[in-house]
Symmetry: C2
Subunit: 299 residues, 2 copies
């Protein structure tokens, strides 16, 4: 399939992918991007699965990008994903891709951005970006989304503490999954208390939903809240603000990456090894070298 | 004290710190840098404490930089450190500094590099860099060291698995601390098996030591191994190779940082907001904008 091949090329930083992304750009911006994040064991995969099925019932096409920085696997090779999504495998209105850390986390972030653009240009109505919410990199990936769903479950040891401050701030919708477990209502109360403390709240007050994804409970309500947030983003002008910020960050990162390559090339050239030796022997000051390289590099 | 003030300035990215670092550079390179890393609960702090005392007995002066990315505290404000090191507080041959994440992890890394240079120029014989070995950033900080000591303990749940592959590769000396606990010998065996599998092994085969830091057991042997590794680095020429690589990385990162600021300034100027709007409306292609900015930015 062309989509899968192109994503693989983007993962491999194949120059063809860059050319393709440039050509695809005018076709992007139509898909609605939903980020789904939460700690391991919160049932994000099952929830995503059920969301896909509910959106399909509504005749929407759905792309899924499951990002797991702790997984060395990529290219949709995560067995669990394949099994869980197997009943969707023959549906042409669904595309599922798992991405692990083949290269660096920065590379994963860039590859997932590329994958989103490819699915967007391919015409999918919704793109679900599923990540394990543990580190800064995942937060960066989730920031790509138009709507971010933060998933938690009762009994995660530290309960609500498991949702870090940074994640709390990016949630547009909160889901307490496995809500048939003891303590679900307490988690809801704790979440709403934390949300009320949030000073940076805009016009949208994030709803808190209870789901039991494995039994398909609460999924319709979740889709409705996602669509309500989508309507809010459109009517308030917030969608344009978010997307402007996103494209601005992407452009910055792509420029920085190309400039990094240029700096490395510059440092590798002529007598860098000799210069390093002189620096080590204190015959040259590294800060003078930095000034010189920057002067030579920049206009 | 001048050292403490200067480190604080470096943490705050005060331009005065840059000027001072430039002036201090010719005085650096004399200290021997020892990285001490391991998972939380491995007793790194106690081990560092005992190492300092043993080095002081040998009439060596010692600087300690304790980096904890999970701590919001900085400037030596970590209470536990103060208490534990209190009997060293009046010793002028010892300087201890805790650094937490005031800013970003990248900022922490840069500030700790600056602190190392400041202590080095101040004439300390040894600089111990203590970090929690959990993420890439800590690995980057540890890579600054001439000798890296990786600390583990028996019964860490996953035992040896708690030492991630990346950390395994950077260890010059391995310490099984709290070795009076059950399972210490098994950890030693597992470590040596993992080391034998390492294909990238050079001429130095990393020793594995057992310590009980709280009872000062094994500390003399650890200091001897550190000095043996120091001798190896000097006689093999490896010290110069490592320090060249380190200064090369530092120069690259400092250039990248200054170029980042330049890119941000460039993007902030004139009609960036209008241009973003045009990009969102597909009237401009972001890849063309990237090409233009790079052309304008670079020579």
């Amino acid at each position: 399939m062309a989509i899968a091949r192109l994503i693989t090329k983007a993962e491999n930083e194949d120059p063809e992918a860059t050319i393709a992304l440039r050509q695809l750009y005018p076709k992007t911006g139509r898909a609605f991007l939903v980020g789904i994040t939460g700690p391991p064991g919160s049932g994000k995969s099952t929830l995503t699965d059920k969301l896909v099925k509910e959106l399909r019932k509504r005749n929407k096409t759905v792309g899924v990008i499951a990002v797991d920085p702790s997984s060395p696997f990529t290219g949709g090779a995560i067995l669990g994903d394949r099994i869980r999504m197997s009943d969707l495998a023959l549906d042409e209105g669904v595309f599922i891709r798992s991405m692990g850390t083949r290269g660096s986390l920065g590379g994963l972030s860039q590859a997932s951005h590329a994958a989103i653009k490819i699915l967007d240009a391919a015409g999918f109505d919704y793109i679900l970006i599923e990540t394990v919410g543990v580190g800064q990199s995942e937060i960066d990936i989730v920031k790509t989304a138009d709507t971010t769903v933060v998933v938690t479950v009762p009994g995660l040891g530290d309960d609500i503490q498991a949702i870090k401050a940074g994640i709390m701030e990016i949630g547009d919708i909160f889901v307490v999954n496995k809500a048939d477990r003891d303590g679900a209502d307490r988690v809801v109360i704790e979440l709403s208390q934390m949300l009320e403390l949030n000073q940076n709240m805009g016009e949208w007050f994030p709803p808190i939903l209870k789901t039991v994804a494995s039994r398909n409970e609460g999924i319709i309500q979740l889709v409705e809240k996602i669509d309500a947030h989508k309507d809010f983003l459109n009517s308030s002008g917030e969608l344009i603000i978010r997307r402007k910020e996103r494209i601005s960050n992407e452009i910055f990162n792509l420029i920085l990456k190309r400039v990094s390559v240029e700096i490395m090339r510059k440092l590798a050239e002529d007598n860098w090894e000799n210069e390093l030796a002189e620096i080590l022997e204190k015959r040259k000051n590294p800060y003078d070298v930095i000034d010189r390289v920057i002067k030579e590099l920049l206009q």
